[in-house]
Amino acid sequence: MMWSWIPSNGSLIWNLTWENAKLGVLPALIGLVISLPLGVIAARWRWFYPPLLTVINILYAIPSLALFIALIPAFGLTDTTVIIALTVFSLCVILPNVVAGLRGVPAAVTQAATAMGYGPFRRLVTVELPLAVPVILAGLRVGVVASISLASVGQLIGVSSLGYLFIDGLQRSFPTEIYVGLVLVIALALACDLILVAVRRALTPWAVRPRRERARPRPQQLEEAAI
């Protein structure tokens, strides 16, 4: 470990961290925006969900590098390629949570809302979605963390991220760089996760206990996200 390397490369480390944060957060947010309408449809018309889930699982099974490469002809060696690929992966994590969150709204609550004179859209926006927030945000947390971690793979096609430190460190047999990259990826993921926990607390002052927010990722997704 060569501590002096860190201050002398401060601006490089800062830029890479910032790039990595962008590549992690943007796809998760875009994934959320796409997941909401799809999730609403899947929760309302149940037959729509099983085929959708199959498509999602197939997409999720594509190795990230393969998806980057597949997108290069269309978008080149750019941020866009990485963001699109990571959006697909975030979507796969967030969408099931949107559906689970909406389906988890107690039937008595939706029935009471209807009986009090809510139209379907107003009920969705003011009753069902707010009640689904804890579960949706749990999905978003997994999505953000996974994207931040996967973003480093983008370095293989030349899109800069903390992944640079891994590849450069490996090529120069310089472990300090690898350790710094690893610590920063984890710290970044943790920071974003904590921000989302704070957002969830602010949005759901009514929540009984934070128990409902537990993420429900499928185990193999988490393993893959950690690559």
């Binding site: 008595a108 609550v109 029935q111 009986a115 004179g117 009753v127 759901t204 009984v208």
Partner: protein
């Protein structure tokens, strides 16, 4: 007024939930739909606010076919209370109660003021206004549910098993609350329950359903108990319907004797002179009952002893003349060691006591009253 006209609900799988229902819910009264599970009572209720649409027939609300009304608009004029409360977990108590006023376009401030009025109306502390539903007890949640249903002052209130999920003590107090609210507000209430006791307690009219959505009998509760239409109704209302029917006859007609009643400062000699087997000792001053003394025990006690110094036997409970029914009076007599019911006035002062003979006479006279009720066109 709500009118069901030959209403049938048949599901695609062929199940008939409601079969040719004709029913009229009178304005300002409480109609209870009661029956075993699967008898179509809840389906019938939900057809009134169009949560369920009938397959055949029509339902009229004040003469208008409800199918001609916009469902959301129709529902804002119909309060709805369900067993699971259906309170919005993400809204405070005041915002839950203010739901329909806000849907009707009230400013939030005005809706919250209204919510606080309603909290008082349903017997809850205004301190609860800022809490979330999960911070309340089951009984409190149910009261908030009633307050929410009443918030926009709808003329009609639908209640689906509203008190089934709470314990018996809380249930009784919620039922009493409904009765006192109804005495004040005079809503047209339709209440679904599987509990015939509840139906008899809160209903002005009871509609008893058979399985598969047919009506067995529609009658005021006292008539249901006195004259069940058939064996099904008789078995549903239960074997002790004779006793329960007495709950509808006022104890006012009961003759009360004052022979065995003596104040605490009367002496043993006075008690012996009365020749009564039991003496009811009352408090000097307030005149409230103190307890019974068996005159057979008095022989060994000096004549001049005041009755207030003797040990008395408990009297169970007294009945209030002018407020309680013959059922309460009979119960008081059964529980009393002397076999006599103590009648008191509104302040608890003893007016007199009734023996089983006097109770029997009053019950027979009451049956005459029942017969007259039935003979009425």
């Amino acid at each position: 007024m709500i009118t069901f006209q030959a209403v049938t609900k048949r599901y695609p799988d062929g199940t008939v939930a409601v079969d040719g229902l004709n029913l009229e819910v009178p304005e300002g009264k409480t109609m209870v739909l009661v029956g075993p599970s699967g008898c179509g009572k809840t389906t019938s209720l939900r057809m009134i606010n169009r949560l369920v649409e009938p397959t055949e027939g029509a339902i009229f609300l004040d003469g208008t076919d409800i199918r001609d009304r916009n469902p959301a608009q129709l529902r804002r004029g119909i309060g709805y209370v369900i067993q699971q409360t259906g309170l919005f977990p993400h809204r405070t108590v005041e915002d839950n109660i203010g739901t329909v006023p806000v849907l009707n376009g009230w400013p939030r401030k005005k809706a919250r003021d209204r919510a606080r009025e309603l909290l008082t109306l349903v017997g809850l502390d205004q301190e609860l206004a800022r809490r979330y539903p999960h911070q309340l007890s089951g009984g409190q949640q149910q009261r908030v549910g009633v307050a929410r249903a009443l918030a926009a002052d709808p003329p009609v209130l639908l209640m689906d098993e509203p008190f089934s999920a709470v314990d018996p003590v809380v249930r009784a107090s919620l039922q009493d609350q409904l009765l006192s609210l109804q005495a004040e507000l005079r809503k047209t209430v339709v209440l679904v329950t599987h509990d015939i006791e509840e139906a008899i307690k809160v209903g002005d009219v009871v509609a008893l359903f058979r399985p598969h959505g047919k009506l067995a009998q529609v009658a005021p509760p006292e008539e249901l108990l006195a004259a069940p239409a058939d064996d099904y109704v008789a078995s549903f209302v239960g074997f002790d319907r004779g006793i329960r029917r007495l709950g509808f006859i006022a104890a006012e007609g009961l003759a009360l004797g004052t022979g065995p009643v003596l104040p605490a400062d009367a002496t043993v000699a006075q008690a012996m002179a009365s020749a009564e087997p039991w003496i009811l000792v009352t408090q000097t001053g307030s005149g409230s009952p103190r307890g019974w003394v068996d005159t057979a025990d008095l022989a060994v006690i000096p004549d001049g002893t005041p009755l207030g110094q003797l040990d008395t036997k408990g009297f169970g409970h007294a009945f209030t003349v002018g407020a309680d029914s013959l059922r309460a009076a009979l119960d008081a007599a059964v529980l009393s060691p002397a076999g006599q019911a103590i009648g008191v006035d509104g302040d608890g002062r003893v007016l007199g006591v009734a023996t089983f003979d006097q109770l029997r006479a009053a019950i027979q006279a009451g049956e005459g009253w029942q017969a007259r009720q039935k003979a009425r066109p």
